[in-house]
Amino acid sequence: MDEKTIIAKRVAQELKDGNLVNLGIGLPTLVTKYLPAGIQVFFQSENGVIGMQPLPEPGVAADALTDAGGTPTSIIPGAGAFDSVTSFCLIRGGHLDVTVLGGLQVDEAGQLANWMVPGKMVPGMGGAMDLVSGAKRVIVAMTHTAKGAPKILKKCNLPLTSVRRVDLVVTELAVIQPTDEGLVLLEVADGVTVEQVVAATEARLIVPATVPTMQLAA
């Protein structure tokens, strides 16, 4: 199983029946493929729709129905469309149960940086700052390291997305929960040791006596 699949499958387990969920562009969108059976999750796309789902077949793309990256998408029966103002009322107002976002860095305070690398890459924050400020639960889905360098640091050195502490970090190596005491190692991936996770992490990890292995469907 490749890195992205591990992350997407593990994140999918966090979604509950009836949840309103926003998925960031890129890795997080893979999550839709691995939803647990028998639950109904409503996906919001920040550009103005609840009930988004991937295009079911070729040839049915429409100019006026796309995801936040501009890619044609489709909707479930019972979907609702709205403008950008309403979209962010839902996001900022605490109506969103879960947001799943990519990350450049997360630190011991559980703070996330994911919107710019000064002087190099200035994509802008898009909806990320509102999503992190407003969602009931913020899950960061990212690779544990970038070109071998840890992304989970003592202190973020890139500009923060929000001062709000995120709720869960899922990587291909581990599941980590930011708490008042610091980052708690909740799970390690199959075949990965606690020592390997600690070695790939700059931040101090709180390691419980037993750390279970991620349980993923095949």
Binding site: S45, E46, N47, G48, V49, A62, D63, A64, L65, T66, A68, G69, G70, I75, A81, F82, D83, S84, V85, S87, F88, I91, R92, G119, M121, V122, P123, G124, M125, G126, G127, A128, M129, D130, S133, G134, P159, L160, T161, S162, V163
Partner: protein, 217 residues
């Protein structure tokens, strides 16, 4: 009382140096014909307020490529490296605004509100140089209203008075921008007789629209 205006005439009302709000989200629901005509007429030194600049050479990206933009207020330019390059090179001044804050600032400009109180951006670089205020023991940024000289918006259907309806994710910033500019120019996919759009499906009321351009001739 028809608001229908020829494309060239409508766009000719916009002077160099004007501040424009332009609807759309990654090019979806943008007024493509109005943008093309702005480029054709060689408008320059524009300030653009928009969610994004789409992709290189596409939609609002055409204005970027044409060097028509002096200043940009947007939430995301990640999919247009030309905008990022012009920003880093100092050709365009870019103000990046969180998307929800951008929507609310435009709304405040149109709704006669003095600003927006939001927790989004508190403690980040977005907060630099801004007033904060404590309400019920919590700190919020005071984000100022945005207004423009012109709003260039795109609708699915219009009637001749200028009532507008939108379609799915092509709606995005169009309705809110229609309230926040001195002059509103709307491009519509279809212009139908007055009375054909049911009142409950009118999302932009005719009285705020100044000029109406059909999407195709």
């Amino acid at each position: 009382m028809s608001k229908v205006t020829a494309l060239e005439q409508a766009v000719a009302k916009i002077p160099d140096g004007a501040t424009l709000m332009i609807g759309g989200f990654m090019g979806v629901g943008s007024p493509h014909r109005l943008i093309d005509e702005l480029v054709r007429q060689g408008r320059k030194d524009l300030t653009i307020i928009a969610n994004d600049t789409a992709r290189p050479g596409v939609d609002i990206g055409k204005l970027i490529r044409a060097g028509a933009v002096k200043r940009l207020v947007a939430s995301h330019i990640g999919l247009n490296p030309e905008t990022q390059k012009q920003m880093i090179d100092g050709q365009i001044e870019v103000e990046l605004v969180p998307q929800g804050t951008l929507a609310e600032r435009i709304r405040a400009g149109g709704a006669g509100l003095g600003g927006v109180l939001t927790a989004t951006g508190v403690g980040t670089t977005v907060a630099e140089g801004k007033q904060t205020i404590d309400v019920k023991g919590k700190t919020f940024l005071v984000e100022e209203p945005l207004r423009a000289d012109f709003a260039l918006i795109s609708a699915w259907r219009a009637d001749y008075y200028g009532n507008l309806s939108y379609e799915l994710t092509a709606r995005n910033f169009n309705p809110v921008m229609a309230l926040a500019a001195d002059t509103v120019i709307a491009e519509a996919g279809e212009i139908v007789p007055v009375g054909l759009i049911p009142p409950d499906q009118v999302e932009t009321v005719s009285v705020v629209v100044d000029h109406l351009v059909a999407r195709s001739n």
